[in-house]
């Protein structure tokens, strides 16, 4: 039998240990919060700065006491940036372009992914290795031949036969991107094919066999059974394809430098702002002698960048919870 004193001592010992454990937990939680908040701040800070600048009046530029929250609020910057970018037509145009290419890419990659996952035709594994190869070759290698190819576009000389000209000039039309996305060779399409293939490989074969016995052909099985089940990889592919297409400067500046698309417009924003701002401020007629205040130009550029990414941020707020879920389920990690 233990004496009551010993029992009390033991109880105290346990209590101390419990308190110590809780203290460690709390310390760790605080440490974790400090880390998470710190990293989040680094990520969000540029965005906050842009918001602050967008609503800041010109008179506040040279006021050193202002941090983040402007004294004089104004919508002038936004109005000017919208005017320079020709915002709403530009946005509509860009969104239409991005949605079309995204849908085409998703469709063609889903087809190819299913083809690679379920059919054993001669050379299928070699062809799939080539899919991975398309990912690994830097796009700059293909740049010049692709450019010349679309400059005088021709399929096996058919157009040359019909019109007598040496191919069509597709530069500065939407066709180069539409063609590359419809043939699953566009922006990072190899990755999307890989995602679809992994997912379709993971689906039970019995479903398809049942469909086959019930008389559904291969195409019908794909459309009616496989695709409706492939929602999560589709969301992943659509999300990433949309975002990458929206942000892509490489192909747009290569093939469509003169079209009104968000990436090309935004990257040339500085030059345009410099040229247009003096006129907008009513200094017209001064010609090249009048130069815009560089600080003011920088403000307009920041506002323009904000305007360009706001649609993406809004989209992200709506779909962000699918981001993690879809990657988990799409089988990238399988």
């Amino acid at each position: 039998m233990q004496s009551p004193q010993a029992v009390r001592k033991e109880a105290q010992h346990y209590r101390i240990q419990k308190v110590r454990g809780r203290a460690v937990d709390i310390l760790y939680a605080l440490f974790r919060y400090a880390l998470v908040i710190g990293i989040s701040f680094i990520i969000i800070y540029p965005l906050l700065m842009k918001f602050s600048i967008a609503f800041k009046d010109k008179t506040d530029i040279y006021n050193p006491t202002i941090y983040m929250i402007p004294v004089h609020f104004t919508l002038d910057n936004i109005r000017m940036a919208m005017q320079i970018l020709d915002y709403f037509p530009l946005l509509g145009n860009t969104l239409l372009f991005v949605v079309v290419t995204t849908l085409l890419t998703t469709a063609s990659c889903a087809l190819a992914g299913y083809g690679f996952a379920r059919f054993n035709f001669p050379g299928s594994s070699l062809l799939f290795a080539l899919v991975i190869l398309t990912l690994l070759v830097p796009t700059s290698t293909l740049m010049v031949p692709m450019y010349l190819h679309f400059r005088s576009f021709d399929i096996l000389g058919i157009i040359h036969l019909i019109t007598g000209k040496s191919g069509l000039n597709l530069l500065n039309t939407y066709w180069p991107s539409i063609i590359t996305s419809a043939t699953a060779i566009g922006l990072k399409a190899g990755l999307f094919i890989y995602i679809f293939r992994q997912f379709f490989k993971g689906m039970p074969k019995e479903i398809e066999e049942a469909a086959l016995i019930d008389g559904a052909g291969g195409v019908k099985t794909f459309l009616r059974i496989m695709l409706p089940n492939a929602v999560s990889p589709m969301i992943t592919v659509i999300l990433f394809c949309f975002v990458w297409q929206y942000n892509d400067t490489f192909f747009t500046s290569l093939f469509m430098s003169e079209l009104a698309l968000m990436p090309t417009k935004v990257s040339s924003l500085a030059a345009q702002a410099n040229a247009l701002i003096p006129g907008m401020l009513g200094a017209g007629g001064g010609g090249s002698a009048v130069k815009a205040d560089p600080n003011h130009v920088a403000m307009i550029i920041d506002t323009g960048i904000l305007l360009a990414i706001i649609p993406l941020i809004l989209l992200y707020l709506v779909v962000q919870r699918y981001f993690v879920e879809s990657v988990e389920r799409s089988g990238i990690i399988g």
């Binding site: 063609s108 059919f119 830097p138 190819h149 590359t180 419809a182 600080n295 360009a308």
Partner: protein, 299 residues
């Protein structure tokens, strides 16, 4: 067997080829053909005329020019390859770290995740180009911006170096750490997708394993290295390759190849440059793939 009718297996193969037909067409006409063309271009002098272009074979002259004549190609190439080599471990470390952080349960986790993945959608070359030009506009010219950036971030660096070398770390390692800290923004913004992939992998680790480890008396540290790390390790290879590929688009070499082709109109030289770049990248990929796949744990 009936001679007119195809066997079931034959039919299946044809159907499979039909499914991949769009990709196959694209691959042959928009990938393989340009790739071969590009090799051809790199050995010739290309002149563009209104109806198309003419080629004139020049042998190895373009490669010779790129490597030994062109003033800046070597420097830009080594710099961006070196940058990539430095960035990959940092991005990997940071993304695995953040993924484990985000995988824990705490209040506000959903908000934190949303913020951590924000760089995935905001990492745009267009935006960084516009930002850089805005800054150049503000300060005067590009060299001034570079110097400004350096002096702006140099604050406190010396004291940090002193502390670290006082501890007794080798100087090259100190350099690396300081470099990582100075580049923290770049690293954070380019590790969005990698965090996503690691997080997905972490969530697929069965929770029962941790319970067993805890009952057996393993600390959190031990269970990370003995359970989490081996199970996540296949994804390390994926992430390394992804990071390397991702570095193509923004690298200075790509920009240089672009301007050589479309500003200076020297298409042959540009093709030669891009092939040198491709070869170096593929050598790195092969080495990394070989070394890592030997150490990766597959279940």
């Amino acid at each position: 067997m009936n001679g007119n009718k195809l066997s079931l297996q034959h039919k299946r193969s044809l159907l499979g080829i039909a499914f991949i037909a769009p990709w196959l067409l694209g691959f042959i006409f928009l990938f393989a053909a340009p790739l071969l063309r590009s090799i051809q271009f790199s050995f010739s002098k290309l002149t563009v005329d209104p109806s198309g272009f003419t080629l004139q074979g020049v042998g190895w002259a373009n490669f010779n020019n790129a490597l030994f004549v062109d003033a800046s190609f070597n420097r830009v190439l080594t710099e961006s390859v070196w940058d990539m080599v430095l960035n990959v471990p940092m991005i990997l470390f940071f993304s695995l770290f953040s993924a484990t952080l985000l995988n824990q349960k705490f209040r506000g986790r959903i908000v934190a995740r949303a913020i951590f993945f924000l760089p995935v959608i905001l990492a745009s070359n267009a935006i960084s180009a516009a930002e850089a030009s805005g800054l150049i506009n503000l300060v005067g010219d590009a060299t001034a911006v570079n110097e400004l950036g350096q002096s702006g971030s140099q604050y406190n660096v010396m004291s940090m170096v002193m502390i670290l070398s006082e501890i007794g770390l080798p100087l090259s390692f100190v350099d690396y750490i300081v470099d990582a800290i100075l580049r923290i923004y770049e690293i954070i913004t380019s590790s969005g997708v990698q965090i996503l992939i690691f997080l997905a992998a972490l969530q697929s680790v069965p929770g029962a394993m941790y319970e067993v480890a805890k009952i057996e008396g393993a600390t959190a540290y031990e269970s990370f290295w003995k359970i989490t790390f081996p199970l996540v390790s296949p994804l390390i290879l994926t992430n390394v390759i992804y990071t390397i590929i991702d570095s193509f688009s923004g690298s200075a070499v790509t920009k240089m190849i672009f301007t050589t082709a479309f500003t200076t109109q020297n298409f042959g030289l540009s093709a030669a440059m891009s092939w040198i770049y491709t070869l170096i990248i593929s050598i790195i990929l092969v080495i990394v793939g070989y070394v890592l796949s030997k150490r990766v744990h597959y279940n």
